[in-house]
Symmetry: C2
Subunit: 379 residues, 2 copies
C-alpha cells in the first residue's frame, strides 16, 4: 500500500508541474483520487485564482462517472481550510465523503499550517502526511521560503558560453544571443513564473532590455532596476513600456531627492524609491525585504556577472537557472561570470540539479541550498 501511495503521489507531483508559469504566486499542486487501487480522478491547480487541485480532481471524478465516496485522495500539499479566491478544499473533500487524505507536505502558510488536516481528521477522514515530502518541497521552495520568512526566493538566471561569457564583446546580428530559440522561449516562461525581475544599471545600459515575459499571458512581473546613481535613460525600452508593465527603480536616497530624472520618471509611471546605501552600496538584503513586503515570492535576477555574483556572495541566492550554449567565445567574449565568481573567492555548491536539453543548449536548474535547509528556513 505504501508503495502504491508513492506511485500515486509521484503522478500527483507530475500533474502539479503542469501549472508552472500559470499558478504563481500560488504553489503548484497536483491531486490523484484513488478507489479500489484504481485512479478515478486527476486534477491540478491550473492558474492563479482558479480552482485548487483537489476541486479539479473531484470534478474529474464526477465527469468520468465515478463516486469519490470512500476514496483515497493523494495531494501534493495539505488541503486549504480557508476561503481565499476559492472555497475551502477541506469542505469539498468532506462533502465528497472521501475515506482518506494523503498529503505530501503540510501547507506552511499561516492560514493553513496543519489546520486543513485537522479539519479533515475531525470530520472522520483518515489523514497522513509525508509521502514524497522532499519532492513536494522541491516543487514549491519559493512558497515555503516566503511563508516562513516573508522574503522572496531568489533565482539567478544567466545564459553563458562554455567558457563562461555572458555576451560577445562586439555585438552583431549573428552573436546577439548567446542561447538559441528554445532557451529564450524558456526564459519567457520563467519570467511568467516570477512576480518580479531584477536587473542592474550595467545590463540596462548595455542591453536596453525589456525584461517582460513574451507572450505575457496576463502576467506582469514587476521590473526592478538597482540604479544607485539613477543612470536609467529616459529613452530606454523599460521606461518606454512603463505604462504597460510596472517598473520600480531603486536608487540612493540622495539621487531620489536630488536628481532631475526622478520627477520625469515618476511622470512616466515609474516608481522611484530611495534606499540609504551602506558602504556606498544598496544592500541586497534591504531590497529583498522591500520586495517581500510587496508580496514578491519568486524574484528573477537577470543581470551581469557582478550583480549575479553579489547575490551569491551575500548568501542570498536560492536557485540558479543557467542556459549553457555550446560555444566558445574566448577573447571575443565579455561579461565573464566564471572570472567574477572565482575572483570573489566564492565556492558555490549546487544541490538538486536538473539538466535538460533545449535545442543545442543545455538548461541547468539547481539550488544553492539543500532541501533540508529550506525545510528549516535557513536562509
Amino acid at each position: 500500500m505504501a508503495k502504491s501511495n508513492k506511485k500515486y503521489m509521484e503522478l500527483a507531483l507530475e500533474l502539479a508541474r503542469r501549472g508552472y508559469g500559470d499558478v504563481e504566486p500560488n504553489p503548484m499542486v497536483g491531486c490523484v483520487i484513488v478507489k479500489d487501487d484504481r485512479i478515478i480522478g486527476r486534477g491540478w491547480h491550473k492558474n492563479y485564482g482558479g480552482p485548487h487541485a483537489e476541486i479539479n480532481a473531484l470534478e474529474d471524478c464526477l465527469k468520468n462517472g465515478h463516486d469519490p465516496a470512500g476514496s483515497t485522495i493523494c495531494v501534493t500539499l495539505e488541503p486549504c481550510c480557508h476561503t481565499g479566491k476559492t472555497g475551502p478544499c477541506t469542505d469539498a473533500i468532506i462533502n465528497a465523503k472521501a475515506a482518506k487524505v494523503i498529503a505530501a507536505m503540510e501547507d506552511p502558510s499561516d492560514k493553513v499550517a496543519g489546520k486543513g488536516l485537522a479539519a479533515l481528521s475531525q470530520a472522520g477522514i483518515r489523514v497522513s502526511v509525508g509521502t514524497c515530502r522532499k519532492q513536494a518541497m522541491l516543487l514549491n521552495p519559493a512558497f515555503i521560503k516566503y511563508s516562513k520568512t516573508g522574503l522572496p526566493w531568489v533565482i539567478l538566471k544567466w545564459a553563458q558560453t562554455l567558457d563562461g561569457k555572458l555576451a560577445a564583446a562586439e555585438i552583431n546580428d549573428e552573436n546577439r544571443w548567446i542561447s538559441g530559440d528554445a532557451a529564450r522561449k524558456d526564459v519567457h516562461k520563467l519570467r511568467r513564473s516570477c512576480q518580479a525581475v531584477l536587473t542592474g544599471t550595467g545590463t540596462l545600459l548595455a542591453d536596453d532590455p525589456l525584461l517582460t515575459p513574451r507572450p505575457d499571458k496576463g502576467k506582469k512581473p514587476l521590473r526592478v532596476v538597482l540604479d544607485r546613481e539613477l543612470k536609467i535613460p529616459i529613452e530606454s525600452n523599460m521606461v518606454k513600456t512603463a505604462g504597460e508593465f510596472p517598473v520600480l527603480v531603486i536608487t540612493s536616497v540622495k539621487a531620489e531627492k536630488n536628481s532631475e530624472k526622478t520627477p520625469v520618471l515618476r511622470e512616466k509611471g515609474i516608481e522611484v524609491m530611495g534606499i540609504e546605501p551602506a558602504d556606498g552600496k544598496i544592500r541586497l538584503q534591504t531590497v529583498l525585504k522591500e520586495l517581500g513586503s510587496r508580496k514578491i515570492q519568486r524574484l528573477l535576477v537577470e543581470a551581469g556577472p557582478r550583480l549575479l555574483t553579489a547575490f551569491m556572495q551575500d548568501n542570498l541566492a536560492d536557485e540558479a537557472v543557467i542556459y549553457s550554449a555550446p560555444k566558445l567565445l574566448g577573447a571575443a567574449g565579455t561579461a565573464d561570470i566564471n572570472r567574477e565568481i572565482t575572483s570573489a573567492g566564492i565556492k558555490p555548491t549546487l544541490y538538486h540539479t536538473e539538466t535538460a536539453l533545449l535545442g543545442y543548449d543545455t538548461r541547468i536548474r539547481a539550488m544553492f541550498r539543500h532541501v533540508s535547509q529550506i525545510a528549516q528556513a535557513e536562509f
Copy 2:
C-alpha cells in the same frame, strides 16, 4: 527518386555510426541495398580488419532470401577496389549484378580515389556520387584529413564545470571526477576510437593518469607524453603499464641524450624520442608529423588548459569533445580552461556542433573547422 535515395543514404549513415569505437582507423561505413523501393539488405563496417559494409549488406540480402541482382546499392563511401585486409568490394558488387551504386562521397585515399567507381562503371553498373556528401564527410573527417595530409585529426577533450574548471583545487573522494559515470564511460569509447592519446607533463604529475581505454576491447592506443624535461616519474601508472599499453615519451634531444632516466624508461619498454625544441618548446606541428608517420589518424589530446589551448593557438585543433558538468567550483576550482583560452587571445569558432545529455552531464562535440575546409584539406 532522389528524395528516397536521400532517405536510404541517411539510414546507411546511421548504420555506419554503429562501428564507432571499433572500426578505427578504418572509416565508419554503412550500406543499404534497395530493390523495387524496398530495403533488401543492410550492413556496416563492424570492426577493423573485418568485412566492409557492402559485403555485410550483400550477405544480409542473401540471408534474408533476396537476390541483389538489379538492385541499387547505397553506400556512404566509394567501394574499394583493392585487396587489403579483405577482397575488393567492387568485385563483390559486380558479381552480385547490382544495377546501380550510389556513394555519398569518393574515397579520398590514394588506393581508391575514384578508381572504385570507375571499375563499377566499366562493368556496366550505373554510378552516382554525392548524396548526403556533407554528412558522410562529417562522419569520417579524420580519415579524410589523414588521406589528404598524412597528419592526425586532433581531438581536444576535456571535462569542465560550468565555470570552466577542469579540476578541484583540493582533491577528495567526492570531487575527484568532474563528470559522472556516463560521461567517463563515453571517454573510454572515445579513446578506443583513437590511435593515440596525448598528454603533457603537468597532467601526468597532477593526475598520474593511465589514459588507457577501459575496457580496451583489443584497442591499444599509443600513449604519448610531451615531456620536454623528462619529468615523468618512474613510479607513475603510465610507466608501470608500459608493458601492456605502449608509451612514447617525446622530450628534447638534450634530455633524451643526457638524462639518466632515458635508459631506465627504455628498459621498461618505453620509447623515448628527442625532438629539437624551437624557442624552448617542442613544436606541436613536429609532433603531429611524427605521429602521422606512425599512422596515427585520430589523436586524442587529454591535457591541462595550457596544452589544450596551445593546440588551438597553433590552429592545429580539429575537433573538441567537451563534457560539461552542472557544477560551479568558483574559487575551489583550478585548471581554468576559460581563463587560458581568453588570456591567449583566441577567439574560437565551433562548427557542426552536437549536444547530448549523458546522465547529468552534457557532451558537446564540435569541429574547429567547417566541413568545406575539411573537403579542401585546409588544415
